[in-house]
């Protein structure tokens, strides 16, 4: 079963729109959603959560329509927004109490473990927390009601390397429970290396690729070429070409199909997620 399924989703604003978004996240997997600032990541999350109302299309959470079966769908979701905590005057405990009220599956023991792990004081007011502490508190809340689908909108943005490492470590531990699925957005692709089963890139409101890490490792390659063979740039398997100091760097989604058109001494390497993003995302 898919934890999240999006079909032909559109959402338009005056100067920006999500166009024909199609996504499938199977249960038990983690999907990294990457894109530049303003690419549509947060809009997509807000539309999934029904904070923004879609124009067309279909969004299902474990088979439940996100609008018609809103309660069933949201009871399976933990959502950490890009601005996770609002009321600054409130203590963490009050905030937690008000949050836990909405979830019959709230796991207080787990929450206390997470607070201790992150060294968060329940009596502290939200306004006294640093950005990193707010994110840790938001994640502690999100992970303590045993949701099956975890939506994290740029959880590592603005975090120092130590805090980032702590947050990513926690997420990896959470993934040990294979019934859980995570959709994780970021514009820092290194966050996803080694943990994401799927890489999805969004650019200017369009999903321009969504592949498994396995497919990328097996088939995708970066090629270094002095010259471009004729007609190669128009092939479907060519995903991006960048001029470099030695000639061209070409990203292909199927090295096997392209090999016969290339010089014999062409060097290739498996791309990392940053390489893929750099080649596929349009510049300003």
């Amino acid at each position: 079963m898919n934890a999240l399924q999006i079909n032909a989703l559109t959402k338009s604003f005056s100067k920006f729109s999500l166009e024909n978004i199609n996504l499938e996240l199977p249960q038990g997997y983690i999907m990294g959603l990457v894109g530049k600032n303003g690419a549509g990541k947060t809009t997509l999350f807000k539309t999934i959560m029904n904070h923004l109302l879609k124009d067309h299309g279909d969004i299902q959470i474990y088979g439940y329509d996100h609008q018609k079966d809103e309660v069933q769908a949201k009871s399976r979701i933990a959502y950490l927004s890009d601005d996770p905590i609002g009321i600054g005057e409130m203590s963490l405990k009050t905030h937690k109490d008000a949050f836990a009220v909405g979830y019959p599956t709230w796991d207080e023991a787990k929450f206390q473990v997470l607070l201790n792990r992150f060294k968060l004081n329940q009596k502290a007011k939200v306004k006294t927390l640093s950005k990193g502490m707010k994110v840790k508190f938001g994640i502690s809340l999100a992970l303590s009601h045993n949701a099956q689908l975890i939506l994290l909108d740029e959880p590592t943005a603005g975090l120092d390397p130590v805090a980032r490492n702590e947050v990513m470590g926690l997420l990896q531990e959470e993934l040990q429970d294979e019934s859980k699925s995570i959709l994780f957005s970021t514009h820092v692709t290194s966050d996803l290396e080694g943990i994401a089963d799927y890489l999805t890139i969004i650019d200017q409101g369009h999903i321009i690729m969504s592949e498994t890490g396995e497919t990328i490792n097996d088939n995708w390659r970066i090629l270094k070429l002095e010259d471009l063979p004729a007609g190669i740039s128009s092939l479907d398997v060519v995903k991006g070409i960048k001029p470099t100091s030695f000639g061209y760097s070409l990203l292909t989604s199927d090295f096997g199909k392209l090999q016969e058109r290339l010089p014999a001494d062409t060097t290739s390497e498996t791309p990392n997620y940053a390489d893929i993003m750099i080649h596929m995302v349009k510049g300003e």
Partner: protein
């Protein structure tokens, strides 16, 4: 729905339950020669002021929308929570006012002494009218700017202040007289228990319509 109401109180409303009496007492102390007008006009305005403060918190709303509660459920719960808040505030101010030994306006005193149903209905109608205006406006403004809400709230309170100043300088129109006339005419109308029942039912219907209107607007809002 209960969880939304509970959350409302835990997060915000319990705090403003302390603010309301302070504002109400200030009105009464500032204008010690006042009559029932303070109560009929001033208290609901102060209530609405507090409701406005609550509504301004868009982040809290976004969190509510992320929880397993339907949009319609949130709108209904907040509407009911607002009514509970206003009613609780009413009782609280009465108790506090008597506890502090403040001289209360005649309408309130009559209500307390005689459990005057007419006065009770008048208050409920005033609160209903305020809710009828305030809630849809609030829901429409959500996400469009805190400034607009603040301006509206301040405007309401400035108007109230100006009115009181004019009233006690004997220069302004006597709206209280109009209200008294209204109460007198209602007194004639409310001559039987049947009329009270009819009034109660009408209140219920008006507020049900208001609640549905809030639901309709809220389910079409974006955050």
């Amino acid at each position: 729905m209960l969880s939304v109401i509970k959350r409302d109180w835990m997060l915000i409303r319990q705090k403003y339950l302390f603010l309301m009496p302070v504002l109400s007492m200030s009105l009464i102390l500032l204008f010690p020669k006042g009559d029932e007008g303070y109560f009929i006009i001033g208290v609901p305005v102060v209530f609405i002021f507090s409701v406005f403060i609550f509504i301004q918190d868009d982040n809290s709303l976004r969190q509510l929308l992320s929880m397993p509660i339907s949009r319609a459920g949130i709108a209904r719960a907040r509407f009911l929570s607002g009514w509970v808040f206003m009613s609780a505030g009413l009782v609280y101010i009465v108790v506090l006012g008597f506890g502090l030994g403040l001289v209360y306006p005649s309408a309130l005193t009559a209500f307390i002494r005689h459990l005057d149903l007419l006065t009770l209905f008048t208050y409920l109608w005033v609160l209903s009218a305020m809710a009828f205006i305030a809630y849809p406006v609030l829901f429409l403004f959500i996400g469009k700017g805190v400034q607009a809400l603040v301006a509206f709230t301040l405007g309401m309170n400035v108007l109230l202040g100006v009115y009181f100043l004019m009233r006690f300088n004997a220069a302004g129109p006597d709206i209280f007289e109009i209200l008294k006339s209204l109460i007198m005419s209602l007194q004639k109308y409310h001559s039987s228990p049947l009329n009270y029942v009819a009034s109660a039912l009408t209140l219920l219907i008006v507020n049900s319509i208001n609640m549905k209107l809030c639901e309709w607007i809220f389910t079409r809002k974006e955050f």
